[in-house]
């Protein structure tokens, strides 16, 4: 009993420290859908506490918590798909309408986040884990329960998409700015 309480106390403490990162991970996992991200965050926190006896003190709590979040979201999606009569495959959800421009988020940042969100789920999570969370390729593969080669090919494809979008954005921006300058000159 004492050990169980002690383990729960450790998990509580770890959850408090991980709170912002776990929420960010949930935001990216749910394709930028804040209500879903909040739900996923809560469910993950609760599950982590319920399973606190399975957490090994000294091991990486963030890896463990992210793995729980991935699993909960996958199961949640599966049950939604079944209810909707769409079989049991996990939808490759994206939320192109995700809006990161509320609060203090910089416009440039919100563009980057929107582009990441628009990536197919597998690519998006590879990018998030490696370049935002700073995990090694192997750790990212473990969290997503896929082979490391899959992570690498997802990173390659995602990088190509991000590069193409950035180039398109730069061209459009340059055109718009030139147009605005010429309009200013005329007025």
């Amino acid at each position: 009993m004492f050990l169980k309480k002690r383990r729960q106390a450790i998990v509580k403490q770890e959850l408090e420290q991980l709170r912002d990162r776990l929420w960010r991970f949930c935001m990216m996992r749910t394709g930028g859908n804040k209500p879903d991200a909040d739900d996923l965050f809560q469910a993950t926190a609760l599950r982590a506490l319920e399973k606190s006896h399975q957490f090994e003190p000294g091991s990486r709590f963030d890896n463990w918590a992210f793995t729980i979040a991935v699993s909960i979201w996958r199961n949640e999606l599966r049950s939604r798909s079944v209810r909707l009569g769409q079989g049991v495959e996990e939808a490759d959800e994206t939320n192109l309408g995700a809006d990161y421009r509320s609060g203090e988020t910089n416009i440039f940042t919100s563009e980057v986040l929107t582009r990441i969100t628009a990536l197919p789920k597998g690519q998006r999570m590879a990018i998030v884990l490696v370049y935002i969370e700073g995990y090694s390729y192997r750790e990212a593969a473990e969290i997503l329960a896929v082979p490391i080669g899959t992570i690498m090919s997802r990173l390659a494809t995602a990088r190509q998409s991000l590069k193409a979008w950035a180039q398109e954005g730069a061209q459009e921006g340059a055109q718009e700015e030139a147009q605005e300058r010429s309009q200013k000159g005329e007025s």
């Binding site: 469910a43 988020t105 910089n106 416009i107 700073g134 605005e180």
Partner: protein, 248 residues
């Protein structure tokens, strides 16, 4: 020539390929345009992703259980009550239930001052963006205000432009352009779009925490230049910006 896998190329781009292989790939790239094009198609600035992720962290709710229970599944409502207590404990509940010390800002200037108070030189000094990015950022912000705004409209003698942010005050667009002076003291130029009001000339205002501000308004726009600088210097900055904003 070696056949390079995606795994090796990504590791090369991330600087994680061992030195010998990295050199070999670099060499092959120089002699193989197809390989070079392929690698170039994947070259992105990953620090942009990291910075975007860091900014998203700032949007993390203080309390992730604050949503209204009526849209939650029943199991989550139950879970929520349990997890509030379990995760954050009595200390959080106490602070949640007791009245807060800080009352909400009563007007947009006060909101700007409170936000600006959090800035230090370090907040902005590491922000590096190229001219294209800044130009696009300013143009996009301008569109949110329904004005044509170019990066050069924001030039101020003695200040270095760092970034623009689109904020929101009571559902009105509020933009902040952040600058640093030669001593890395942050100064902000903010514009709010609200209902049309009588035009007001430049006016000095003392704000909280040692900040000064110079305000003016024109049509539906309110302007402020704010920072921990003496009123005369801020006035000088404000005059330049006011002249550039005269065509709005």
């Amino acid at each position: 020539m070696t056949q390079w896998s995606d795994e090796q190329i990504i590791a090369y781009l991330d600087g994680k390929l061992d030195m010998e292989q990295g050199r070999a790939l670099h060499r092959d790239r120089q002699h193989d345009p197809e390989l070079d094009n392929y690698i170039t198609s994947m070259e992105i600035d990953t620090t942009e992703l990291t910075v975007a992720g860091d900014e998203l962290l700032q949007g993390a709710p203080d309390f992730a259980f604050e949503k209204s229970p009526d849209r939650m599944p029943v199991w989550r409502q139950t879970a929520m009550a349990a997890s509030i207590l379990a995760v954050f404990g009595l200390g959080f509940l106490t602070s949640w239930l007791l009245p807060s010390d800080s009352s909400p800002p009563t007007n947009w200037l006060q909101a700007v001052a409170e936000y600006q108070m959090l800035y230090s030189g370090e907040t902005l000094v590491l922000l590096e963006k190229n001219a294209d990015q800044r130009g696009r950022e300013v143009a996009q912000i301008g569109r949110k205000l329904d004005i044509i705004l170019a990066r050069s409209d924001l030039n101020v003698d003695g200040l270095t432009y760092k970034r623009g942010q689109l904020l929101n005050y009571e559902n009105k667009p509020l933009v902040q352009f952040a600058y640093l002076d030669e001593d890395n003291i942050p100064v902000a130029f903010c514009i709010i779009k609200r209902g049309v009001k009588p035009d007001q000339k430049l006016a000095d205002k003392a704000m909280l925490a040692g900040q000064n501000a110079v305000t003016w308004s024109k049509g539906q726009f309110g302007f402020v230049v704010i920072g921990k600088k003496d009123p005369a210097t801020l006035n000088k900055y404000a005059k330049q910006l006011k002249a550039r904003m005269a065509s709005l």
